[in-house]
């Protein structure tokens, strides 16, 4: 289905998962199938949100796309090339705090450049520029424990963007923030994204967030053996302000349509959770 959508847009694929299945040995000796036969495509410059009930294997899909996890079967293509090692074109923003606590904000942003062999001074200058772009000018010398949750997320974002990735993989990056900070970060992300339109795969369990940000929303079934069950185009015009569009009729209509599908999965996931 997404193949036809791509053909219409006439775009190349930035990232494609073909028939990806991931199984893990479970403690009871059986295998646990986290995701099963997942195929999805991310076009160049496209912002795609993936929503699904909690614990449905969304992070597993991102780890596969990042090359951190090798699928049990199926394949990953990056810019139409099969992925064999880590995905060097992708930046990965984790749900948990991933900043090195022993580096300052500037040191954290410069880390990737330094690892790639850039001289310390040049890397620090580039890092400073990105800190400014995410609104943290003057905070470069602070250590992560001296930063608020929102500021840490900004540093994480700068840490990834400084590397100039073509693809952004984001795993519920703002879920730990309070609502106001989260909306601020979402707007900021959209603003940064609008400058160079990277391909973004944004995983969340929050439908509101998914719709506000994305061009396309993919709904996953509840786990185990998670797979995409439906996808929806979001035709809300850009630039968007996430605090305002939630009241637009277009948004409400999209929300209602997707929620009908998602609700069943959430309930199923909830029932299963109760049974365990």
């Amino acid at each position: 289905m997404n193949v036809s959508a791509l053909a219409i847009a006439g775009q190349r694929s930035a990232l494609a998962l073909k028939d990806v299945t991931c199984a893990f040995p479970s403690s009871s000796g059986t295998t646990y199938v986290a995701v099963k036969n997942v195929s999805l495509t991310l076009a160049e410059g496209e912002f795609v949100s993936i929503v699904g009930p909690t614990g449905c294997g969304k992070s597993t899909l991102l780890n596969v796309a990042a090359g951190l996890l090798r699928p049990t079967c199926g394949e990953v293509f990056v810019a139409d090339e099969p992925l064999r090692a880590l995905n060097r074109r992708a930046g990965y923003m984790f749900q948990a705090d991933a900043l090195l606590p022993w580096l300052t904000a500037r040191g954290n942003v410069a880390l990737g450049l330094e690892l790639g062999g850039m001289p310390k001074k040049a890397a620090a200058e580039r890092a400073e520029g990105w800190l400014k772009r995410v609104g943290l000018a003057g905070h470069g010398d602070r250590y992560p424990h001296q930063l608020s949750g929102g500021m840490k997320k900004r540093v994480s974002l700068a840490q990834i963007l400084v590397m100039g990735p073509k693809i952004l993989l984001m795993d519920e990056p703002f879920s730990a923030l309070d609502v106001q900070t989260r909306q601020l970060m979402e707007n900021e992300l959209l603003d940064i994204w609008s400058h160079d339109r990277k391909s973004v795969l944004f995983v969340t369990h929050d439908l509101e967030e998914a719709i506000s940000l994305a061009d396309r929303v993919i709904v996953l079934s509840s786990g185990p053996a998670t797979a995409p069950i439906a996808e929806f185009e979001v035709n809300i015009p850009r630039p968007r302000d996430v605090t305002e569009i939630v009241q637009s009729p277009h948004y409400l209509q999209t929300h209602r349509r997707i929620w009908e599908t998602l609700k069943k999965e959430v309930l199923r996931s909830y029932e299963r959770g109760k049974a365990v």
Partner: protein, 258 residues
């Protein structure tokens, strides 16, 4: 919050009072002949002995030897522990293979090895260093091992995604992460290094504070024995302070509230 704040000046004052009370009580006990001086020594004479040592050249040779032994055992033991701890923490197979042997050697009363080291390395400093190394090694080793094993997988994944190879992961993530653990063990290891040096000297040597103490014991000179112990204690405190300063400088990134 308010009741947690302690006046530092008051703490130091009370410490001084406590120390003075013990010393004065001790001295009075000796002077009144409640305590026999042969067994307990006298604070006044101990102080005088230290001052006499301080002014004599020979004492510095002994102190120097003991300090060199201590620092060498500390440095070599810590370095070995870092390398081996890092290696085993990153190779589960070898960790499993070595596990029983490490436990066995660790539970062995290692001070008993001193005579064997004297046979192997002679009566010079290296037999003392060897003993010190066996004492320093394990405390640091277990902490490095644990520190490396507990590195957050998210930090590792993130740093890998930013382009780190294996060696860069060790230098930028594993080692800094283990440092917190290592420093907590270094405070203990300094004491261990001193024990190794002094016991080694005590069991066979011709110089060092341990040798001085042994000599004094031979003539029932309790004051000199205690003076030697006081000097060692002061040295250990100074080294511990140096480590605390290094810890403070190297671990600036740690939150201070704990």
């Amino acid at each position: 919050m308010q009741h947690n704040r302690i006046d530092r000046g008051k703490v130091w004052l009370l410490r001084g009072v406590l120390l003075a009370a013990v010393l004065v009580g001790w001295q009075v006990g000796i002077d009144r002949q409640v305590l026999p001086e042969l067994f307990f020594g006298s604070p006044r004479v101990i102080g005088a002995t230290i001052i006499k040592w301080w002014g004599s050249g020979a004492f510095y040779v002994h102190l120097y030897v003991t300090l060199v032994e201590t620092l060498l055992s500390f440095a070599i033991g810590t370095a070995l522990a870092l390398v081996l701890g890092l290696w085993l923490a990153l190779s589960p197979l070898w960790a499993a293979v070595f596990d029983p042997f490490i436990k066995a050697v660790n539970s062995m009363p290692r001070l008993i090895l001193a005579p064997i080291f004297a046979i192997w390395f002679g009566l010079g400093i290296w037999s003392k260093v060897a003993l010190g190394v066996t004492l320093v090694f394990f405390g640091v080793f277990f902490n490095v091992y644990q520190g490396i094993r507990e590195v957050s997988p998210v930090l590792l994944a993130n740093t890998r995604m930013l382009g780190a190879n294996h060696r860069q992961l060790i230098r930028r993530v594993y080692l800094p992460s283990a440092m917190t653990w290592v420093f907590s063990s270094l405070h203990l290891s300094v004491g261990m290094a001193f024990i190794g040096a002094v016991i080694g000297e005590y069991l066979g040597s011709s110089e060092g504070i341990g040798y001085l103490i042994l000599q004094a014991e031979g003539t029932f000179d309790t004051d000199s024995v205690l003076a030697g112990i006081v000097v060692l204690t002061i040295c250990a405190l100074v080294l511990d302070a140096v480590i605390s300063a290094a810890e403070k400088a190297l671990l600036v990134w740690r939150p201070t509230a704990h």
